[in-house]
């Protein structure tokens, strides 16, 4: 079953075309890594899915339902507001720069959205929050402020915060790029556990080791379109597209 599908998704900033006719699909339980050179439009693609960017044209389906359809920068179809919100909440997002709420403790960061958005009672949200913090190995940090944590710990809190909304798919935008090398492992570890637990994941990353090990499929994006996709092993060892070849040579 498809969790997210896009049809001819296009995004321009003014006259700059950043995404061109992206047709993409993630099935339930799949882990898809998106790789590609800087400026390829990887972040813009993730941000378009959860409406942080407004697409210029194309269709986005969530859970098989048409979520948004736009043409020539005008909305053709939008789900009704309640539906729109519930479909949006099926996507959790983790940012490169964590974006934790600095004035809230770790536990409050995790429980804020369940309480505010889902009207979950505080006790229940805290129980849920502590459970998720345990999963990312941060139980003992529940009551400290984010500024007291290392980058790796902050990113694990950010993952926990997104998970607390019980999304069906997690979007990761270079979750380890802002981290010191020695902290990358702990975050990737949490992400691998998440993948094993069956979470559907869409991960923009430069960590080829992670892509090889955890991804079911790797997508190579270049100049705003999907240039090539396939099984990690195949894409890394026998890329068909010369651009993929070139990119892989440049980073290895």
């Amino acid at each position: 079953m498809s969790v997210i599908r896009t049809e001819k998704l296009c995004k321009s900033f003014g006259t700059l075309e950043v995404l061109r006719d992206v047709d993409f699909n993630v099935e339930k339980g799949e882990v898809v890594c998106i790789i590609g050179p800087s400026g390829a439009g990887k972040s813009t693609f993730l941000r378009s899915l959860n409406q942080l960017e407004t697409i210029t044209s194309g269709k986005i389906f969530v859970d098989g339902e048409l979520f948004l359809h736009r043409e020539k920068n005008a909305t053709v179809h939008d789900s009704d507001p309640a539906k729109h919100k519930s479909l949006l909440l099926e996507m959790g997002m983790v940012f490169q720069s964590f974006n934790l709420f600095p004035h809230k403790t770790v536990l409050e960061n995790v429980t804020l959205a369940p309480i505010a958005v889902k009207q979950m009672p505080k006790e229940k949200a805290e129980e849920l929050g502590r459970g998720i913090l345990a999963k990312v190995g941060l139980s003992e940090k529940a009551d400290v402020y984010p500024s007291k944590l290392s980058g790796g710990q902050q990113q694990r809190v950010a993952i926990a915060r997104a998970l607390a909304m019980e999304p069906k798919i997690m979007l990761f935008d270079e979750p380890t790029s802002a981290l010191d090398p020695e902290l990358v492992g702990e975050v990737l570890g949490v992400m691998k556990d998440l993948a094993k637990s069956g979470m559907t994941m869409l991960v923009v990353t430069h960590e080829m080791g992670f892509a090889r090990e955890a991804a079911n499929r790797v997508v190579f994006m270049s100049d705003g379109y999907i240039a090539e996709e396939g099984l990690p092993e195949r894409l890394f060892t026998a890329p068909q597209n010369p651009r993929t070849q070139q990119f892989l040579n440049s980073i290895l």
Binding site: V117, S147, A162
Partner: protein
């Protein structure tokens, strides 16, 4: 020397009573202005062009004209044009004029504080499903609030001194009382205790505000 001291001590009760008016006017004006300023700041950054233009115009007007003129305008001009707007209470007139004026300055402080919050905070909130109102109330304002404290406190201390302008419409604040004593008793000595009183209250508030700032910076 002894004579002078005795005179000054004799004036103190009147001066202290007038200080109450100065403090009340400052506190009332700054609190009213704060409420007004939050709306002006949110209006200025609003995506609605008309709301944004109206709020920007307001700020432009009140920051671009002298406070003293605004005070005259509220007290003399408005009742002239619209008789129903006659304000019998000098205090009320000063309160209105000061609130309107301070709101323009505070709106800029609040707007700057809100816009200094990293856009990642808005995005994280949005990605979690928070509405614009919730994002402002739970995420942005509480962070901006801490950044606003120092400039707002600074503004409070400035206002405390600027209220001396109201002596011109004969509202019995500390400055007016001082001027009355100086002319009735023909003694310019009274300016010494009066200035000391201003100094003491500004020092007092500055000290309180410094402690407040320290308390609020715990999470950073």
């Amino acid at each position: 020397m002894e004579d002078a001291l005795i005179k000054i001590v004799g004036w103190l009760p009147m001066l202290i009573k007038a200080t109450g008016v100065t403090l009340a006017l400052t506190a009332a004006s700054v609190s009213t202005a704060l409420v007004l300023a939050v709306f002006l700041a949110l209006g200025k950054i609003s995506k609605d062009k008309i709301i944004s233009a109206v709020c920007s115009g307001y700020v432009f007007f009140f920051r671009g004209t002298p406070l003293l003129m605004q005070l005259f305008f509220v007290y003399y001009t408005l009742p002239n044009i619209f008789p129903f707007m006659t304000i019998n209470s000098r205090f009320l007139a000063a309160w209105i004029a000061f609130s309107l004026n301070i709101a323009a300055y505070l709106a800029e402080i609040i707007r700057a504080a809100i816009q200094s919050i990293h856009k990642g905070q808005f995005e994280a909130a949005k990605a979690l499903g928070l509405t614009y109102g919730q994002t402002m109330r739970l995420i942005i304002i509480p962070q901006a609030y801490r950044r606003m404290i120092p400039p707002v406190c600074n503004e409070f201390v400035m206002v405390l001194k600027d209220t001396s302008l109201v002596s011109i419409i004969a509202l019995t604040d500390l400055t007016f009382q001082t001027r009355m004593i100086a002319s009735n008793k023909a003694s310019s000595l009274v300016y010494i205790p009066a200035m000391l009183i201003y100094l003491i209250i500004t020092a007092f508030f500055t000290a309180i505000f410094n402690r407040l700032e320290k308390r609020l910076s715990i999470y950073e």
